[in-house]
């Protein structure tokens, strides 16, 4: 008998603190599997954000560095510039990356910083209790958009991958989802590509992963996957927005 699924070595055996059915856990595992497959666990330095995944440093079985809220790309830049031969990645939520950390992610991409960002877009601030994120959909209720997000008051949800793909320094930008096994497989493939391109020195790489927050969406985990599929996929189309071939 061989094990075809289970805990990758790059994941600590600790239990996640995430809510039941929260797909942060799936995304953690995918990143760890990729690290295992590429054999880079001992060469990798991960940067944990402030968000529900703030404790990511307890889960990944490699060197981990905390960042201030939104600043993971800057912290990663500091690390990568000191250790250009190491693999450096950030793991960030949508509040972290698309709100407070906008400047840092844009400039990491612009500078073509050779890091990989796993961007977990769950259209909400999970950690702090369900406030509106820049990626919260129009009409979606959050604790700070109690009447539903409206264009007039809060503008349009940010499409981060589309925006970053305009930057020459971005080598690989893809949006994936983890709402069913097929998409989980594709998500992993994209994450693997991103790491590979980083290792090949192609430039900045980012994978946006659509994710659920059953707790703050007020849905069961199963309903949450469905809500993601029905509401987020149409607004946030999946696909590769930039591949290294386009970087001359």
């Amino acid at each position: 008998m061989i094990k075809v699924a289970g805990r990758p070595e790059s994941l600590q055996s600790k239990q996640f603190h995430y809510c039941p059915g929260c797909t942060h856990g799936i995304i953690h595992r995918l990143v760890a599997e990729v690290m295992d497959e590429l054999g880079i666990r001992e060469e990798s330095i991960g940067v944990a954000p402030v968000g529900c995944s703030v404790l990511a440093y307890e889960y990944f079985n490699c060197d981990m560095h905390e960042a201030a809220h939104g600043r993971a790309p800057a912290v990663a830049t500091g690390i990568k510039r000191v250790h250009p031969d190491k693999v450096v990645f950030t793991y960030q939520g949508d509040g972290d990356l698309a709100s407070i950390g906008t400047a840092e992610i844009v400039h990491a991409a612009g500078r073509s910083e050779k890091i990989t960002t796993i961007f977990v877009n769950n259209a909400i601030y999970g950690m702090t209790g369900g406030q509106m994120a820049p990626t919260t959909l129009i009409g979606q209720k959050a604790t700070t958009s109690p009447y539903g997000r409206s264009v007039e008051a809060q503008g349009y949800p940010l499409k981060v991958s589309e925006m970053l793909a305009t930057l020459t320094g971005a080598a690989y930008i893809a949006r994936v989802s983890v709402h069913d096994p097929q998409h989980i497989r594709k998500a992993k493939a994209a994450i693997k590509k991103a790491f590979e391109y980083q290792i090949a020195g192609k430039g900045f790489t980012l994978v946006e992963v659509l994710s659920t927050c059953p707790t703050n969406w007020g849905l069961t985990p199963i309903e949450a996957l469905k809500w993601l599929e029905e509401n987020m996929l149409p607004y946030y189309p999946l696909g590769e927005y930039k591949t290294p071939e386009e970087v001359k």
Partner: protein, 177 residues
């Protein structure tokens, strides 16, 4: 008169609103009250607790290292809070979910099968009211009716829930009587 109580349980067991009701009722009875929740990292599924103080005088600290009473709705809460109760105090245990006993002999222990009673009433979510009923009956700090009055304030828009909750209170009280 001053009563300090810590109420604790799983996130979904309604310990926070049970405390709020008690505080609200106390206020409506003209007492000084405070309600202080634990607030952990906002990750769900953990345990929650709150401290309620009802007093005739200005309340100093809204938290207490040694409450008069503790209402524990699940096992982790028993482990955490039974040791804090002041000697001579009261421990109310939700015996539906907690089989373990406390080893304290200097306090009064009251076991209430809150979930079973709630389920009998057809709604497991009122287990908290069963516990509260037992508490009120035991301590006599406030009459049951004051809680019902408070419900009218707190459950604004959901008044239809009041009769069920009232019954739950009474059933809890009955356990102690």
């Amino acid at each position: 008169m001053k009563q300090e109580v810590i109420m604790a349980g799983f996130g979904g067991q309604g310990v926070m609103s049970m405390g709020m009701l008690l505080a609200y009722a106390g206020m409506m009875e003209g007492k000084e009250v405070s309600w202080m929740p634990s607030y952990g990292p906002e990750m769900r599924g953990g345990t929650a607790n709150c401290t309620v103080i009802v007093s005739d005088k200005r309340i100093a600290s809204p938290i207490t290292p040694s409450p008069d009473t503790s209402i524990v709705m699940n096992l982790p809460s028993l482990d955490k809070f039974s040791s804090m109760i002041k000697p001579g105090g009261v421990l109310i245990i939700n015996s539906s979910l907690i089989e373990k006993d406390t080893n304290r002999t200097d306090i009064e222990v009251i076991k209430v099968p809150c979930n079973e009673i709630a389920n009998e009433l057809g709604n497991s979510r009122v287990a908290n009211m069963v516990a509260l009923g037992a508490y009120l009956q035991k301590t006599g700090i406030l009459p049951l009716e004051s809680i019902v009055k408070a419900m009218k304030k707190v459950f604004a828009g959901k008044e239809h829930l009041i009769p069920l909750n009232e019954t739950a209170l009474q059933r809890g009280a009955a356990v102690v009587k």
